[in-house]
Subunit: 233 residues, 4 copies
């Protein structure tokens, strides 16, 4: 994949955030990776989506984090993205937003329970929330440490990043990912929608429980894995 | 009705879901039936609404479920649609969505009570919720069994599918129907809107009761049945 | 004012309901009156807003209710509109909608308290809710009786229809009005917006009280009456 | 800066309110200041946004409040804007709206606590709420006194208007500001969005606490002040 192609796809994923109503102002960013070339492409920091062009997407080395293509500064969240790509070789795209309902769960320090098949179709279980960062982690390499608490969250919870392609960072906002920037965008959209439905579900029935594992298995596995039968493939 | 006409009408009902804001991504599907021809037309599985064309609509035999026209795979929810058409000869169109507020009621395992005339104009009483499927029903012919619990729900509650043209499947989402795909779409829109109003109504007055039968009768019967006087007919 | 001009203005008020997001499907209707000509113009019953043209607006006699211009049937809510125009000579336009938040208050059998200056700018005090209609009133001339309970509500509460240009009909939905169809539309928009803000205000502070009379006086009177200083007049 | 340029920028900020969904009907107004010229430009009172043109923007003397350019009456909130510009030399633009969620907090007499990094990125701590105006303040120079209670609120709370660029006026609605009309608009958008997220956060977790100061420092200071590293500068 050429830098141009990678930048074009990452540009489209960023614009998809706007079209899907997931971002306000310049909040949020999408990135994509080319593992053969050893690079990550990401939105420049603080640029208006209205003015964003494919040529503005910044390409950085996956290894060093140095800019290898582009004239702008990469997103301030670049160290978080890099840490996740380095830790999980399955990831091809990452999306960070402050989308309204998912951010409300993050601010409330609550995971998003799996209350139905909409959730189970894309996320195999609760969408977890990280522990709060310590004062030292906040004062130090804050964005890198954000990546590290995400890693810790999945490790501690024995959660598979492929089966649960998203997380809430406590007091902050969601990250979602996937094997490609396109799939990461789709998962970010689903994450926001299931967050909205979950808050309404809890309002209607404060004693509601997550769906049983058998329903989770059915829905997740009919869309994913060897026995999948959803879609045209 | 030719296959072309049926496919065109089912295509339009599917696109109506998008225009009405009832679907996110590829969730949801609309179908229509031609009882003389013994066929049902339905959205293909997992296809983007942006790319959907009338020619993509798949026609299957109402009897065998086999594809009789079209090159794609029919929606994974096809067995649910087929079961409902086979069980209720009154149905001409069926809509399945994961629309936000109706799905919240489904996830909360709560029926939608009739709190006002908006609801009574289209649904003659509460919109019921099915019992949860058993583990065996989920592991077995899941989509067919979804149709069967809907049937059981209306039978147990002695509810007329013509008078109450929709249902919530527990932990899943709504189905709505009507004598045609166009009317099924309208009922799906009403179902979502009354779900939204019902959650707000309960928030404002947790002790609210459903409307009395005399008001239900008045509103439902002024739009339906021999004494109807709403509309231009 | 010619019938054509009246129909054009009433058409525009009806389309304004759609543009303002106050109606779903064919719900809602706007009317206007020409007192010199002794006629009321109103939306035809159950016609799609997409297909509505100025020529479709039906003109009826304010006195007899008979159609004097137009080929369609007038809105089924015509007797409610007629009763209000006959009772209150100040009214020049009336709007009926099932707008989401105002309808939620109507369904919850709750008036909309005046919690702030947005409300006070247009409604001089709480927006009242009628008593429920009796079974006899529902089974009899239902739409006329709806007009009568609105009249009773303002009479019992000693409320001035000019100062409080709207009402909630219990278990049904709002009506709003004004000296013209244009002003009635504006009041219907305000009514919905203050309903939305009121439900949020109650959620944030369940013990919230209506604003003091001094603030109500200030805001209402700076826009209305002899000392008004808002706007370009 | 010529009057034309100032009026053009203030016009654009006013239209930005509409594009951002912050205003309904004619509610809300944006102003900007030219301190060298000693003037403030502001929206005319009660004019439809649809009909607003740059030439309609009214220029008044910062000193006397008299109109120095334009034919219309300035916004009825002009004395509030003038008082804030006179009191705080840092302000270059002020926005007043009745945006839904911020107004709900104002009506509920509640400040907006800082529950997350979205808030901390733009507002360095809680967004405060003024005390209610006294009856005498309401009956007297109401709009001027609104400016004075805002001043009192920041003085009493020892809050820096640069670090917290917005406020809620009790039982009324928000004001936001910034060094320019463009930045004031951005802060008004943020204020509304953090209000929405805050109400959802409290719903999900009634016991939620504001973020710790270390996180507030990190997020506010990475976008503002000498060590800022967000954006392209």
């Amino acid at each position: 994949m050429s830098y141009e192609e990678l930048k074009e796809r990452v540009f489209k994923a960023n614009m998809g955030l706007v079209e899907s109503g997931l971002v306000v102002l310049t909040w949020g960013n999408a990135s994509g990776v080319d593992r053969k070339a050893g690079v990550m492409a990401i939105k420049p920091s603080g640029v208006d989506y209205e003015k964003l062009k494919p040529a503005d997407i910044v390409v950085v080395s996956l290894d060093t984090g140095n800019v290898v293509d582009g004239t702008g500064k990469p997103s301030s969240d670049t160290p978080t993205h890099l840490h996740l790509y380095r830790t999980y070789s399955q990831l091809g795209g990452i999306i960070h937003t402050h989308s309204t309902y998912a951010t409300a769960f993050a601010q409330a320090n609550r995971p998003i329970p799996c209350y139905g098949t909409t959730h189970a179709d894309s996320f195999y279980g609760d969408i977890p929330i990280t522990r709060p960062l310590t004062s030292a982690e906040i004062r130090g390499d804050y964005e890198l440490n954000t990546g590290k608490v995400i890693e810790e969250c999945f490790q501690t919870g024995a959660i598979d990043v492929t089966a649960v392609p998203g997380v809430l960072v406590a007091s902050h906002a969601p990250f979602a990912w996937g094997p490609s920037p396109e799939k990461a965008l789709e998962n970010a959209i689903v994450l926001e929608q299931v967050a909205l439905m979950a808050i309404l579900t809890q309002q209607l029935n404060p004693a509601v429980q997550p769906v049983p594992k058998v329903l989770l298995d059915k829905h997740y596995l009919r869309k994913h894995g060897p026995g999948a039968y959803y879609g045209q493939k």
